[in-house]
């Protein structure tokens, strides 16, 4: 392999990992909602779109850096998520209907309203936040003069990735160490048992939906410096997070992180070696392959390795 080929491969792998970290953050929100409520939130991408527009508005009106707007967008999305869960989804969970998938269809309705409202407010133009550091990058040759390869690391991508990792770590701490976090995990594992142990399941559902929304809202802020926005952007991220959740194993947080990384790497490789237009097809090829060959996702592979011996 010539050194140029190797360079391209390494560069592709780097961008794949960076993208995968952000994907993992988006999928985490969906996974914990799915784990606790047993419903798929089809408005997930649209919530991310709301987070992105919050960051966009803060940047263009108040000149707040998109990374700082995480602290505004995430709480805002938390409140929005709590509101949606409390006033729309919870009532529907009690309604007696022929189709049990009513809640899923309901989230479609919510997503439609959010996307369309964004179109009305912001028009359907593609927009960007022209941050000053958008094209800044680190080069390997700057750090190591005689390096045989030339690799670069984009500044905004690496900052976004680092923040995503930090948020994931905080989430892990929250779920593993705090009382509320433990109650959420208990609800996800066995609803009735949690109820018997005195966990306020209703409240946990509300908190989980808020938490999932806040995570994806934060992801939206991290995406803003490196991406562009338009009102219908949500749909594609809903699908991405769903593909990751299937890939990782339904409701598994570790699976979601691994799934995000795998998908990021795979998409980056397809984009480099096959063509940009086919990256979405690659995403769905993975999805179909996982459904046929490892229906339990990566998490089931990990589990069988652990307990198989």
């Amino acid at each position: 392999m010539s050194s140029v080929n190797l360079e391209v491969l390494l560069q592709t792998l780097i961008s794949g990992v960076l993208l995968g970290g952000l994907y993992a953050l988006i999928a985490l929100g969906m996974t914990i909602i799915m784990g606790v409520m047993k419903i798929i939130n089809l408005a997930h991408g649209e919530l991310m779109m709301v987070g992105m527009y919050i960051a966009f508005v803060l940047f263009s009106w108040l000149h707040i850096d998109p990374y700082l707007s995480v602290f505004i967008a995430a709480p805002a999305l938390f409140v929005l998520g709590v509101g949606l869960q409390k006033f729309l989804i919870n009532p529907v969970m009690k309604v007696d209907a022929i189709l049990p998938e009513n809640q899923v269809i309901l989230t479609v309705g919510i997503g439609m309203v959010l996307a369309n409202l964004a179109t009305i407010i912001f028009q359907s133009d593609y927009r960007q936040t022209p941050v000053s550091y958008a094209t800044k990058a680190w080069y390997l040759t700057d750090l190591w003069k005689g390096a045989p390869l030339e690799l670069s690391l984009s500044f905004p991508w690496s900052v976004s990735f680092t923040i995503a990792v930090l948020i994931t770590a905080c989430l892990w701490f929250f779920l593993a160490k705090t009382d509320t976090g433990k109650s959420i995990r208990a609800t996800a594992q066995d609803l009735d048992a949690a109820l018997l142990m005195g966990v306020n399941v209703e409240r946990m559902r509300v908190i989980t939906f808020g938490l999932g929304s806040a995570l994806v809202g934060a992801a939206g802020c991290l995406f803003i410096p490196i991406y562009y926005i338009y009102p219908d952007i949500g749909g594609q991220f809903t699908l991405i997070s769903f593909v990751i959740t299937i890939l990782g194993g339904l409701g598994s947080t570790v699976g979601a992180i691994l799934g995000g990384l795998i998908l990021g790497l795979f998409e980056s490789l397809t984009a480099t070696y096959i063509g940009m237009g086919w990256a979405p097809v690659g995403r769905f090829m993975i999805f179909v392959a996982v459904l046929i060959f490892i229906p339990g996702g990566v998490a089931s592979l990990l589990r069988s390795r652990k307990f198989g011996k």
Binding site: I39, I40, L42, L88, P91, V92, V95, D96, A97, I98, L99, P100, E101, N102, V104, I105, L106, V108, G109, I110, G111, M112, V113, A115, N116, L117, T119, I120, G235, L239, F242, V243, I246, L250, G277, W278, P280, V281, F284, F287, V288, L291, I292, P295
Partner: protein, 313 residues
């Protein structure tokens, strides 16, 4: 009286073109009937068999493209799409069923949703086969007048209605409902759930494909963004049935009337036109919360609400 209502409605509809309606009204009527067909097809799979599909645009699009490609590649009339699509759509439905039917409930819903998107992306990228984003244009319309189109879709709708009714009242229909109510219980009673879910999927897909074939011939132009649309086909299909009534014979028809008229009405109001997805979304939310079984399914509830019948003791 109640036994003959189907025939009466059908007869009245067949007489409608004799009134000399203008071509816009005929267009609306044709759209209403086409959406009822798609709604009835979706209802068969999702309402009766309980497998909620978010990807019926895939079948609609495959049907539409079968007709379109017969015309553009083989140079024969797009109407041959009706017999051809039965085979083509059934093969695609088998493939989709093989992958998606191993999932349950919301996961099945999302898997079919992704299928719809995959089909759109593939149709956009396989320029050599489908013509890509340029789409397919049928240059010579079969008829200028809309009357014959009306009768063709009316026949399709009547046949669909008859088929759905026959299936649901047969043993097959009871299997479907059993699967919807409790798949594990159905399996433990010896129902081969995979087999019957696949049958429901193929029936539903072929009927939806028929609507697609008709669409190509009627509209004269298709492209991947139109016939594989997520919101404008798949979601509207769900809305038609949700609004009208899940698992009812007349629900899809009522839903189609409401949705088509609503879409036309919203489109004609200036300024509000851009907001039509918001209004659809709000309508969907309201229906799910207050009339979860749709207008036909919760008709007694509606009657009570408007004081047409004294409340149940």
């Amino acid at each position: 009286m109640k036994r003959y209502i189907t025939y009466i409605v059908l007869g009245l509809l067949a007489l409608l073109p004799l009134l000399g309606l203008n071509s816009y009204l005929m267009h609306i009527l044709i759209l209403v009937i086409m959406w009822s067909v798609i709604g009835m097809a979706w209802n068969l799979l999702s309402g009766y068999c309980g497998q909620v599909s978010f990807g019926h645009a895939a079948f609609f699009g495959v049907g539409a493209y079968t007709a379109g490609m017969l015309y553009s590649k083989l140079g024969i009339s797009g109407w041959w799409g009706f017999p051809a699509s039965v085979f083509v759509v059934a093969v695609f439905a088998l493939g989709i069923g093989y992958i998606c039917l191993r999932l349950r409930g919301p996961y099945f819903a999302l898997a079919t949703l992704s299928m719809g998107v995959i089909f759109r992306i593939v149709a956009e990228n396989l320029v050599g086969v489908t013509g890509g984003d340029l789409g397919i244009m049928i240059r010579e319309r079969t008829w200028i007048d809309k009357t014959w189109y009306f009768y063709i879709i009316l026949i399709v709708a009547a046949a669909t209605y008859y088929l759905v009714r026959k299936v649901i009242e047969s043993k097959l229909g009871y299997y479907f409902v059993a699967i919807r109510e409790d798949q594990d219980a159905a399996e433990s009673l010896g129902i081969n759930t995979t087999k019957y879910k696949t049958i429901a999927l193929i029936l539903s897909a072929v009927i939806t494909g028929f609507a697609g074939v008709f669409y190509t011939n009627y509209m004269g132009y298709i492209d991947p963004k139109v016939v594989f649309a997520l919101h404008d086909i798949s979601i509207i299909t769900i809305m038609v049935v949700m609004v009208g009534g899940v698992a009812t014979y007349w629900g899809p028809v009522v839903g189609a009337i409401i949705m088509v008229l609503l879409a036309e009405a919203i489109r004609s109001i200036p300024k509000l036109g851009t907001a039509h997805h918001t209004l659809f979304g709000v309508l969907l939310i309201v229906i799910i919360i207050f009339l979860p079984n749709g207008i036909v399914g919760d008709f007694s509830k509606l009657k009570r609400l408007f004081g047409m019948r004294r409340p149940a003791p």
